[in-house]
Amino acid sequence: MKTNNKPLYYILFVAIFAILLPAAYLSGLLSINTISIWGRYFCFAIAALGIDLIWGYTGILSMCQAFFFCLGSYGIAMHLVLQKTSLPDFMAWNKITELPFFWQPFHNAGVTFALCLIIPALFAFFIGYVLFRSRIRGVYMAIITQALTLAMWLLFLRNETNLGGTNGLTDFKTLLGFDLSSAQVKLSLYLVSFAVLCLAYIACHRITRSKFGKVLQAIRDSESRVSFTAYKTANFKLAVFVLAALLAAVGGMLYLPQTGIITPGRMDVKASVEMVMWVALGGRGNLKGAVIGALLVNFLYSLCTSWFPDSWLFILGFLFVLTVLYFDKGLIGLVATVRQRIPGLHFKTSQTTNRYVADSK
């Protein structure tokens, strides 16, 4: 199916973030810090795309995306730590004299990148295999994945796990030989993140438009019907679960060098619910919604913690409640509704409106 998009608005989006913002920095209007902050938001947006695939399109509420995100981050972080020192300082404090075996492969950059993808994928595969095989779905799925994230969070908090405990991993100097503190590297990371976001968006877009994507949506609508139509739903769910985990991991991998720290705090209960909320706020079942939700919520977060530290949680809480109650389809849906309500713009027949809703899915 061909989409009849006018590409203008995509171009605008790309122009703002790929040209305008860097240009603003180069001309001194914005600081490199702002650029870096947006770079980090893009990483969240990449993970949000994964959440949208698994939740928005397939209807499986997975609460362990934050965990996969952290796996990606931790992998890169381990590599960066080993770039700097042969034995991380926290291990020295914990009376460990030899690098644990699972740290060894992270000396090599190529292996690290591979492992950052393979480990989350394997985790997702195992978790998904066990859960989908026993037909755990809906609420059960959400709670078990949440509990799993909680358990992993507790495990990562332990110092025995040898991943830095609560403090996580921090104080990185170079990535592939580039100095992480230099502005050029930060700008490049920003641009890379944006490029990856665009690529991920295009890939997800392709996927959702393919027959595979339709099967996912069909699973969301009526899983048993899909089974009786001879699709092995468990395999499809597993595939999209792994895919979502990979997207989260990629986001995490890019997130780390721009933030400079990864701690288990990134995957506590709060973080994992919040990640889902980005997508809910933006508009689930809509890739643009996921991206916009992730960018907007995090932008608001940065803003509010500077402006209204006390009431930030109220703002977030009310946003959650209102979104769920009144804007089932998130901001994207809200805009669609508003556009229909405004008389001047209301030129579609009901049939085409329906068509449009279907298309935008």
Partner: protein
Amino acid sequence: MLLTVNNLSVSFGGVHALHLDHFSLGEKELRVIIGPNGAGKSTFLDIICGKTKADSGEVIFKGKPVLGKSEVQIAELGIGRKFQKPSVFPELTVYDNLLLAVKTKKDIFSTLFFKVSPAIAERIHDVAARLQLNTVIYKQAGALSHGQKQWLEIAIVMLQDPTLMLIDEPAAGMSDEETEKTGALLLELANTHSIIVIEHDMKFVEQIANHLVTVLVRGKRLMEGTFEEVKNDQRVIDCYLGRTNAQLETL
């Protein structure tokens, strides 16, 4: 025989929902199953298509045992199911609903790189036209009327191209005209497929029951015979009395 069922039984929480000593269906046969509410008709179909697990007994389809197989395996064997409550994908368009049903390779990679060939598109439009869905083919399935959803689900089953179709109450919620069209369609399909139909509407049953009718009561097979035999059987009348005898009387 295409389908043979022996000593099939299932119970829910100690209540026997179904206890069927024998049932068989031939190639290209259209069988109608009737019976009062709670007779176990839907449960019977649920077991055949793998939705419900039987406690004991055997179901042989094309010489292969069916029990214990997953829904997908059963569907792949060539059994298609239409449910009592229309079960379609409400948020997909009618076209997409049908596209998913078309009998092709259904593993992950083939779906990921699937391209609609002209033959498939033609087939979809064909079936859609036969069920008068061609005017709404780009509409969301959720926006269809109840009758249209029934037809859509039948279309989905048709596109799966099964050997055996299990059709649960196809005429529910349809106008008389639609009901008659559905009947005609089923008869036409019976030329190329084996079909089991569950139905309450006796007028509809009369229209489509070209061969045998099976009567289930309280999970057991009461009798089997042509529509005429069934209609005149005292036991059948007795057990419908006080329930849906109004329907019988209209005959």
